[in-house]
Symmetry: C2
């Protein structure tokens, strides 16, 4: 029992909570019950009655932990984390803080998860910032984006840590050998870029422990040019949102164009399933959740409109993360190295 | 004769020079000869023999201006502009400087055009920086992106000028009434963003002369959420390149998916023309060229792989720009206003 991974699930996070979240927890417990114990956090009565809908749920390794409040996506993150002590996010994170859990999955407010991560779960000593690192689909696989929007106005040494943590994650959790790490820039020549890029590049070039392949232009990301995309949070946020927006808009006008002619309508009916699978491939919510890297424990943020499938994937992610000892590897290879390095700002 | 717009065309710029460029000049002269005189700049003998291929070209209002050197895309822009005095870009820009031309079209090195614009054509006094402002396709029209990659490490007052110049351009050249101007951010709430955004937002809010609608998230740009997208050059460059990359990658996997099944192949044949028109719609090179806004004269950069159609569109753009007195409007409404404002950094 004791070597099972203990995963908190925020039953009240996201647009489809609690129904889809509880269903996801049930599915995860059924499939991964040998490896994980789930702690479902939310208003006890509500969660209990949701869970009771599923056959055999009482025999699964799920514990309900009561939390009476919910943090809304529109609330100020810092105020919410400090004020709502009995919210599912705060209660869940305190379980990690107290050593009663290893990881947490939530489809709730990204801001609250970021702030809660810093204040409650806390960064590994020596880690400057914890990037939110979603996996993006490419035409031949996936790539990890660090940081997709957590820490504005990045410093060069933050990006260096993102690169190292991202590389570890892609290797150990996603299973890519010697992940190709690249820094987003406006061109491939060394003299190009803004101040941040110019200061970061030489530092990354010196990193012996990652497979740094240099710059990547945004155009090449969807073609799978690298396995880890390093960017400051503002640029990373633009990347993930434009990925979603461009793909969505393009599929919409393809559909409209096809439906505008009779020939198109017939053809469209024949390729419907193809388009559907492509849409699924480019849907960034299809790949479980995005971890905040560098915390004392794992916090995984899933898409706001997560269904049960994503919650289940995120639980699997937490299990792998923990079984692979990622936090320990990050501590030893990234955090301690920074602490022992000559003074950094 | 004298009130015709005088447009320089760089015969040697881009992948398809000189053939496609000269063809574009010929087409433009045929269609817009009443409104424009074209100055085709390049090695005289080469340009002459290219032009002679087209029937009646000698009766068109095209003047060949000799320039023996060519600036390559891989050259250092500043070195090239300073060193190659007889290159088509330098000779062409000097024509504007000396008042012998009003505008210039080139598919050549963006960097050289930027540097040449600053050093030879020069900024309007009071304009801080000249953004490269391409038009991006959206599902229901186009939007102007300022800056797509010209001036790194922007300051708030630069972005304010981009917003104003972009608004003028969209209104007068593209014909959009009261263009909706938006600032790219990671969210819609006022407290979100990096330092640059937080400092720029209140300045834009105070601008009475533009229709500033607040923040736009990258996700909404392809859906036509605004008419002018304001971003610093790094973010703008990521936007235009990811637009291209995501659309290209998506169409590629749609094609592959369709071709992988027999049913798909039949359907694919029926919707081929639909897909083609969508591809054209999302091809950022379909919309003429991108102006550098705020110079004493117009410099239009067209895509590196420009064909004759783009050159012709860009000539039309130059004619409208000039006939609408855009430089004068920018001078009076943006530059002079900045000069008269209380001290800015």
């Amino acid at each position: 029992m004791s070597d099972k991974v203990k995963v908190v699930i925020d039953a009240m996070g996201g647009d489809n909570a609690p129904a889809a979240i509880v269903k996801g927890a049930y599915d995860a417990a059924k499939e991964y019950g040998e490896r994980a114990k789930l702690l479902l956090v939310g208003p006890e009565a509500v969660v209990k009655s949701e869970l009771a809908k599923y056959e055999g749920s009482d025999s699964l390794d799920i514990e309900i932990v009561n939390a009476t409040e919910v943090i809304d996506c529109n609330e100020s993150p810092t105020k919410a984390i400090k004020g709502k002590k009995d919210s599912s996010i705060v209660v869940g994170m305190n379980l990690i803080k107290e050593g009663k859990a290893d990881a947490m999955v939530s489809a709730g407010s990204t801001g609250a998860l970021l702030v809660g991560g810093q204040l409650l779960v806390k960064r590994i000593r020596g880690i400057n910032r914890t990037p939110l690192a979603p996996v993006l689909p490419t035409i031949n696989g996936v790539t990890l984006l660090c940081d997709s929007g957590a820490n504005m106005d990045a410093k060069p040494e933050w990006l260096v840590q993102y690169a190292k943590m991202g590389s570890i994650y892609m290797e150990k959790v996603v299973g890519i050998k010697k992940p190709r790490v690249a820094l987003v820039n406006v061109g491939l020549e060394e003299e190009k870029g803004n101040q941040l890029i110019k200061e970061t590049y030489p530092l990354l070039k010196e990193c012996k422990d990652i497979n740094f392949i240099g710059f990547v232009e945004a155009r090449e990301i969807p073609y799978g040019a690298c396995d880890v995309v390093v960017a400051d949070a503002f640029v990373g946020n633009v990347i993930i949102k434009l990925y979603e927006g461009t793909a969505g808009a393009l599929l919409k006008i393809i559909k409209e164009s096809i439906m505008s002619t009779t020939k198109g309508k017939i053809g469209g009916a024949l390729i419907k399933s193809n388009l559907k699978s492509v849409k699924k491939l480019f849907d960034t919510s299809e790949y479980g959740g995005a971890p905040f890297l560098g915390l004392n424990g794992l916090v995984v943020k899933t898409h706001g409109n997560s269904g049960s499938g994503e919650i289940k994937s995120a639980v699997r992610q937490c299990i792998t993360f923990n079984e692979q000892n990622i936090s320990k590897i990050i501590k030893e290879n990234v955090a301690d190295a920074s602490l022992n390095a000559p003074a950094e700002s």
